[in-house]
């Protein structure tokens, strides 16, 4: 049938439902001047990024951090650790996407954690940033889902 497509089925994120090895892909994002301006305001960054046509190195970090929302209903969570390797500068006008893979999950002091490795690349596949991050999972008690990165 023309126009038919598979809809994403979202699962509640718990340590049990999470699959190590599971892969994520973000949507493409065009880096626009407003992204850089908003970032400048949010973190009080006085560097003249726009004049140089470049973006702050961590600009697309939330694209990585938000990957799990593409498959899971995330009740709440906390970010525990973040690692970056900056290979090529992100530039104004680039289309970038982030791919990720769950590489570990564990429980420490009664709290569940997940570890994701990620790669942010441009639309030619050139790697811009790679790294990994650790997020704590706050499971849903008996309430609607929430949002935390």
């Amino acid at each position: 049938m023309a126009g038919s497509r598979t809809l994403t089925e979202f699962r509640k994120l718990t340590l049990d439902s999470l699959q190590v090895g599971e892969e994520f892909v973000s949507d493409d994002h065009l880096v626009i001047p407003e992204d850089i301006e908003t970032h400048r305001f949010a973190v009080e960054d006085d560097h003249p990024w726009l004049a140089e046509g470049t973006a702050p190195p961590t600009l697309m970090a939330n694209q990585a951090l938000h990957l799990r929302h593409s498959k899971y209903i995330v009740h709440a969570g906390l970010h525990a650790r973040m690692e970056f390797n900056f290979l090529e500068p992100i530039r104004l006008g680039m289309r970038v996407r982030t791919k990720g893979k769950v590489i570990d999950k564990y429980e420490r002091r009664g709290k569940p954690y997940m570890v994701t490795e990620y790669v942010t690349e441009d639309d030619t596949g050139r790697v811009l940033v790679r790294g990994q991050f650790t997020q704590m999972i706050i499971p849903e008690p008996e309430a609607p889902h929430g949002d935390a990165r």
């Binding site: 908003t38 970032h39 305001f41 949010a42 973190v43 009080e44 960054d45 560097h47 470049t54 702050p56 190195p57 961590t58 970090a61 939330n62 951090l65 709440a76 906390l78 970010h79 525990a80 650790r81 973040m82 690692e83 970056f84 390797n85 900056f86 290979l87 090529e88 500068p89 706050i138 609607p144 889902h145 929430g146 949002d147 935390a148 990165r149």
Partner: protein, 138 residues
């Protein structure tokens, strides 16, 4: 011959610190405004056990990145690394100070890699994020 940046960086040197006022408006700009978000919904944040909305830990990586860009410029954006752990919540209204101390300088191919210990403290002198960042001097 040593470059200006290479000559001006010495192990043990403290970098000029950055001070950041983490307002709710800046958190909203960074994280977006959503219902049931610990970053932008105060009631939800309290329900989750926090006294106010929290800033994303990622904002602290942006602060540390600024410190490194001021030190190394393009040598951080291409070839830099950063690893940070978020050890204490940052709340709307907190004033943070971002610190860095050069811990090492070592050869990396034809460049010198500068290793910086970075940390972020709140207005009470409590560390909220710790880690290290590196970048290249060509």
């Amino acid at each position: 011959m040593a470059t200006r940046v290479e000559a001006e960086t010495t192990v043990g040197q403290a970098l000029p610190s950055l001070v950041k006022d983490v307002s709710q408006r800046r958190i909203d700009a960074y994280s977006g405004v959503r219902p049931r978000s610990i970053h932008s919904d105060e009631a939800w944040a309290r329900q989750k056990g926090f006294r106010d909305c929290l800033a994303q830990g990622m904002m602290s990586t942006a602060y540390a990145s600024q410190l490194m860009v001021k030190l190394l410029g393009p040598g951080f954006a291409r070839g830099g690394t950063m690893s940070m752990a978020f050890i204490k919540p940052v709340y709307a209204g907190d004033r943070l100070t971002v610190h860095g101390v050069i811990k090492d300088k070592r050869r990396d191919g034809s460049a010198t890699r500068v290793v910086v210990e970075v940390w972020v403290e709140n207005q009470h002198g409590e560390k909220t994020a710790i880690g290290h960042a590196t970048g290249l001097v060509h």
